[in-house]
């Protein structure tokens, strides 16, 4: 029962984090500077998910520079800059990762 309670409680807090600022923030009262800073939210949040998943191993230590994930993410990064295309970026990273781990 306590596990169900934990999950419901966690779900509620999780939901409130999504609803909270939508409900409370009044964009008209937001100054220009804040709006400009908020443009950087994807660039500020997503790398904190990307970097540990690529550069750290399961024990939380840095991986080698020639790790397949590191090489593949750099290839995807380069292709992303050139193509500016979401699906090409994902596929280029995944395919280069598979080529490195299966063929090389």
């Amino acid at each position: 029962m306590s596990i169900w309670f934990s999950i419901i409680f966690a779900g509620l807090i999780n939901y409130l984090t999504r609803l909270g600022s939508i409900l409370i923030i009044k964009p008209k009262k937001m100054n220009h500077m804040t709006k400009q800073v908020l443009n950087y939210v994807p660039s500020a949040v997503f790398p904190a998910i990307i970097f540990p998943a690529v550069f750290l191993n399961q024990e939380g230590s840095l991986v080698e520079i020639n790790d397949p994930k590191v090489i593949a993410i750099f290839i995807a990064f380069s292709i992303g800059i050139l193509s500016k295309n979401l699906i090409i970026t994902i596929l280029s990273g995944l395919i280069s990762f598979w080529i490195i781990i299966f063929l090389l």
């Binding site: 306590s2 596990i3 169900w4 309670f5 999950i7 419901i8 409680f9 966690a10 779900g11 999780n14 939901y15 984090t17 999504r18 609803l19 909270g20 600022s21 939508i22 409900l23 923030i25 964009p27 937001m30 709006k35 400009q36 800073v37 908020l38 950087y40 939210v41 994807p42 660039s43 500020a44 949040v45 997503f46 790398p47 904190a48 998910i49 990307i50 970097f51 540990p52 998943a53 690529v54 550069f55 750290l56 939380g60 840095l62 994930k69 593949a72 993410i73 995807a76 990064f77 992303g80 800059i81 193509s83 500016k84 979401l86 699906i87 970026t89 994902i90 990273g93 995944l94 990762f97």
Partner: protein, 228 residues
């Protein structure tokens, strides 16, 4: 001309490429829930109640490892705090909507739906039905996540470990940044956030995501000030 159905469909189509990682991740989550001994109902319930992959996995892993409910809830909640930032961004576009709409849209505000719908909002500010884009992207993601969780629960680990499909998660988040990669300011903020996340990775309750995000946003504010 904009319409509700066209805007909804656009949201669903825009989020589709991001299903490449969501499908294996959902299946892996379903299988992990069963492997950790939570049973089908509890495992599935997390997908509908929490509806946030990273928070769900951390929650079940901590509980199965014997952590107290308080630690599990805190960690799962701290991981979710990034949604506060997403909400602040989209609130600029959803302000005119009724509270009922805000209640529904908030449930659908995941990383992927935020990324694609926020881009749409910026480019289509004059579409009075623009919130249907978030319904389309959010519902598609919700549906696929529920479906794949059930597949994982029923069929188990049908995703071979050797394929390394968990790598698609960082890849997707990188792909969500493609529009910013040619901008030097964004590159600085991306690097700042990434390096901070490696430095603060061991911070308690998985708080490295929100800590790094705040450091990077402070960096962004400094860059904007310097440019003035």
């Amino acid at each position: 001309m904009y319409s509700k159905s066209k805007t909804f469909s656009k949201g669903a189509i825009d989020v589709l490429p991001l299903m490449i990682p969501v499908v294996p991740f959902g299946i892996i989550f379903g299988a992990i829930g069963i492997e950790l001994g939570f049973g089908p109902y509890l495992t599935y319930a997390t997908s509908i109640i929490i509806f946030s992959g990273a928070s769900q996995i951390v929650m079940l892993q901590l509980l199965s490892a014997g952590a107290s409910s308080l630690v599990a809830i805190t960690s799962s909640s701290v991981i979710s705090t990034r949604h506060l930032l997403y909400g602040a961004v989209v609130s600029q576009h959803l302000n005119q909507l009724s509270i009922y709409w805000k209640i529904v849209l908030s449930y659908l505000l995941t990383d992927q739906a935020f990324a694609v719908s926020n881009e749409y909002f910026k480019k289509n500010a004059n579409n009075i039905f623009k919130h249907y884009h978030l319904v389309g992207s959010g519902f598609t993601l919700w549906f696929i996540w529920q479906l794949t969780t059930v597949i994982g629960i029923v069929l188990g680990s049908i995703v071979p470990d050797e394929l390394g499909l968990t790598f698609t998660i960082p890849l997707t988040f990188l792909a969500l940044l493609v529009n910013f990669l040619r901008n030097i300011n964004h590159l600085v903020v991306i690097t700042l956030s990434g390096i901070s996340s490696l430095i603060f990775f061991d911070a308690p309750f998985k708080s490295y995501i929100i800590i790094s995000s705040i450091i990077a946003l402070v960096g962004a504010a400094i860059l904007i000030k310097l440019k003035k």
